[in-house]
């Protein structure tokens, strides 16, 4: 039952993404715009860019994720799908986890794939690229999971754009600090593993707790 519900939800989300592929591309395009505009604004000076490349990439990915956050449960709340999730013989937290994973896979994963190219655009030193990719691979799911809690908390409100940003940003700051910090440490010849391990620990914790918290928030929001 749990497996078939997850599979049904994944297939549904993939179909929906495909039907609205223009909208689905929005976060990726946004991140690309940020990176390109930043490179232009800094004047394409390779040494200057290399210094800030990791921070800019992290910021672009984080803001793109924030942009897509409101769509996580909004559509399902508006058309009554969330009600049916609540009534399904499957734990709501499980459905939330599957939905959040799909959301991550369709908004953050394409960015992760594009990161090597964007990094090239910003003249990121090649030896820092693996650290950047590792920090993003650990950090973006964590962003999505924390974002899911925030999106669930605000799903009962009609317009929640600014509230989502205000609620999510403080939670995102430590992730940004450790994520971008790990690459900066690698750039200075220090060991980035500590920061990456912290991100990993946060991810494990969030994988367990965030769906439960988001499910509880959805129950309250639909009350």
């Amino acid at each position: 039952m749990i497996r078939s519900a997850a599979k049904a939800l994944m297939i549904r989300d993939l179909r929906l993404i495909w039907r609205r592929r223009g909208d689905a591309l929005q976060p990726a395009l946004f991140a690309l715009l940020v990176v390109v505009l930043f490179a232009l604004a800094l004047g394409g000076e390779a040494r200057e860019l290399a210094k800030v490349a990791a921070a800019v990439l992290w910021l672009a990915v984080l803001l793109a994720g924030l942009l897509a956050l409101d769509t996580l449960f909004r559509g399902d709340a508006d058309d009554g799908s969330l009600e049916q999730w609540l009534l399904a013989p499957v734990p709501l937290a499980w459905l939330v986890l599957v939905r959040t994973s799909m959301h991550w896979a369709t908004t953050a994963l394409p960015l992760l794939v594009a990161t090597p190219f964007l990094a090239e655009l910003l003249h990121l030193p090649h030896e820092q690229l693996p650290v950047l990719l590792a920090s993003l691979a650990l950090g973006t799911p964590l962003l999505s999971l924390l974002g899911a809690v925030v999106a669930a908390l605000t799903v009962g409100m009609r317009r929640s754009g600014i509230l989502i940003a205000l609620l999510a940003l403080p939670l995102y700051v430590p992730i940004l600090v450790f994520g971008a910090g790990s690459v900066a440490a690698a750039g200075q010849g220090l060991d980035p593993v500590g920061a990456l391990l912290l991100l990993g620990a946060g991810l494990v914790l969030a994988l367990v707790l965030a769906p439960l918290a988001a499910a509880a928030a959805i129950r309250i929001a639909l009350d």
């Binding site: 519900a5 297939i11 179909r15 559509g75 508006d78 058309d79 009554g80 049916q84 009534l87 009350d223």
Partner: protein
Amino acid sequence: MSEFEPTHPPLLSARGLAFARNEQPVFGPLDFSVDAGEALLVQGDNGAGKTTLLRVLAGLLQADAGEVSIDGRAATASLRSRAVSYMGHLPALKSDLTALENLDFLCGLHGRRRGQLPGNAMAIVGLAGYEDTLVRQLSAGQKRRLSLARLWLAPSPLWLLDEPYANLDLDGINLVNRMVQAHLRDGGAALLTTHGAYAAPPVRTRMLVLGRAVANA
């Protein structure tokens, strides 16, 4: 559906059920029960609390007082999820998916009654030929019919139908009645809300009339 024989305790019973929103009573305390093979017609004016009652019974809202039991046992979330199907005002359909894709998803979520296929259910509700039509292109009545198909596929014995006749033509109203009749014959039960008795299924029916709950009292 053999586990819900008519010899069992009532399929659904409520005792002293009451709900208040912001200290204002919405309905209750109510006592009623529905046996397998029966329909309960919940009537009342707009704002009398019909939808709220159904949402409480479905478990979407917490009652303030009273207890609900399903098949003789106190209703827990897991018992409800297996025994209850709820059709509310919101269609729970994704407008960017086709009719059949929507049914596939909802069957995956709720499980499927043995021997029933989404294709058959679409034919039963008169949507044959619309399988690959996007739901956004269906009319309100057709969407309602698709929700009925979803209900037909669900394995639960207890149907909670909020205004099932809304948006339906005469043929659709007959369809709802036929479906309820067939479901009750299989040992199920149904709660229907309407604001008038203009269309009741030809089955053993109980009535529950909700008044406007002591407003301004």
